[in-house]
Amino acid sequence: MGIIKVTVIDREGQPHELDAPTDMNMNMMELCKSYELPVEGTCGGMAMCASCHMYLESDTHLPEKSDAEEDMLDQAFFVKGNSRLGCQIHLADSMDGMIVRLAEVGS
């Protein structure tokens, strides 16, 4: 397929429908950055900072969280059952129609 549609709801509640390439080895953190949405991605995508914390709002099936992602979420705040790190969601065709909401940023 190559390009899927993904909706990112920003911290003001504004939805952004993005074209997401699935053939460029990109993750959700990088996708948000490429559209200049306010996601820091401080650690560069190593699951080591939680600055790309987001909530999965659609029933899209995602691979299980790795230990590294679980561990990092332990240090994040505003964590809920549907919390994920954007950098650990590697864009794939099966994610077409996915909706995520950016989590609040702690101090």
Partner: protein
């Protein structure tokens, strides 16, 4: 007062390589870093991660890269002020800068090179509304002296090694009572520490509250208790003298943002001719700077450091001409 030619703020890869390049021009360097060891993110966040885009190293661990950079800088005898955060800067009458750290250590230099990466690493603070009111009045983010907690009732939050280790340490004859609160019922961290905490909880030596988060602090002017929100049981109040949230570190630009430098999106604007900032004599290199086409890569930081020291040389010795020399021809002549 520590005197040097180039005062480098940040002892990450870029700051360390600056020492080498400056040394080739006979300029001395001193580095300040908020972390207790050199290496910046490479050492603090991902020492065991491989890096694949350092020229001529198909693969190198971040920790090894730092070790090599330290070795490369060694002939030029850099000075270090570690574990202290560069706080304030002032200009002297003879065009130098005095930088003072949060512990009052003073440094003077004609050139400042900010190689601060993402900023300085500071404890991550949980989003509890009245948190700031209790900082240093029972809320501490770092345990400096365990004896401070002697005979006290302490609540620790977090699921990592530092939360586990301090829980064990304080529960063994230091604090009067220790409660550990964690968001999940499983812990990361060393297996033996996890087991020890579980054993201590089972024998009643500590209180372990999992699937819970601290949501409120109570007390008149100082911590007298906290309130946790438990997934199943709802709000639970726990009386205590101290709450120590241990959620790791995150980088903040910090006091540098008040140094009068032009800043865009948490990065310092520079001229790519020599990586100078809007303040003559202050340069910014590596991840902390911003210019059209900027890429946050270690290899770009090395390039920036190399060009920056040329400009620093001209600022320090305006009347001297410098000719580029090759290390292959001249070797490395240390101090």
């Amino acid at each position: 007062m520590i005197e040097t030619d180039i005062l480098i703020i940040g002892a990450g890869p870029c700051g360390l390589f600056t020492v080498f390049e400056a040394g080739l021009l006979k300029l001395r360097c001193h580095l300040i870093d908020a972390l207790p060891q050199a290496g910046g993110q490479c050492t603090e966040i991902y020492p065991k991660k491989p890096i694949y885009d350092i020229p001529a190293y198909p693969e190198i661990l971040a920790g090894d890269l730092v070790e090599n950079l330290m070795k490369q800088a060694e002939p030029f005898k850099p000075g270090f002020t570690l574990g202290e955060r560069a706080e304030t800067i002032e200009k002297t009458d003879d065009d130098k800068f005095i930088v003072t750290t949060n512990r009052g250590t003073q440094h003077i230099a004609p050139v400042i090179a900010i190689a601060g990466g993402l900023g300085c690493f500071e404890p991550r603070k949980p989003p509890v509304a009245n948190l700031a009111d209790y900082e240093d009045h029972g809320v501490e983010y770092i345990i400096k002296d365990p004896n401070f907690y002697k005979g006290k009732n302490v609540v620790i939050s977090g699921g990592g090694d530092s939360a586990l280790d301090w829980t064990i340490f304080l529960a063994e004859g230091v604090a009067n009572h220790v409660t550990l609160i964690h968001r999940r019922n499983s812990f990361r961290g060393h297996l033996d520490s996890v087991q020890k905490v579980m054993d201590m909880a089972a024998s009643g030596k500590i209180r372990l509250v999992t699937d819970a988060e601290v949501v409120d602090i109570t007390g008149d002017g100082k911590v007298e208790g906290i309130v946790v929100d438990h997934e199943k049981e709802g709000k639970i109040s726990i009386a205590c003298d101290h709450w120590v949230p241990l959620f790791g570190l995150s980088p903040k630009l910090g006091p540098i943002s008040d140094w009068g430098l032009s800043i865009t999106k948490n990065a310092i604007d520079v001229d790519t001719f020599d990586y100078s900032t809007n303040v003559p004599g202050i340069y910014a290199i590596g991840d902390i700077n911003n210019y059209p086409g900027k890429l946050k890569l270690i290899l770009c930081g090395f390039h920036e450091a190399t060009l920056m020291v040329q400009s620093a040389f001209k600022r320090i010795y305006p009347d001297k001409n410098y000719v580029l020399k090759y290390t292959t021809v001249n070797g490395v002549e240390g101090f």
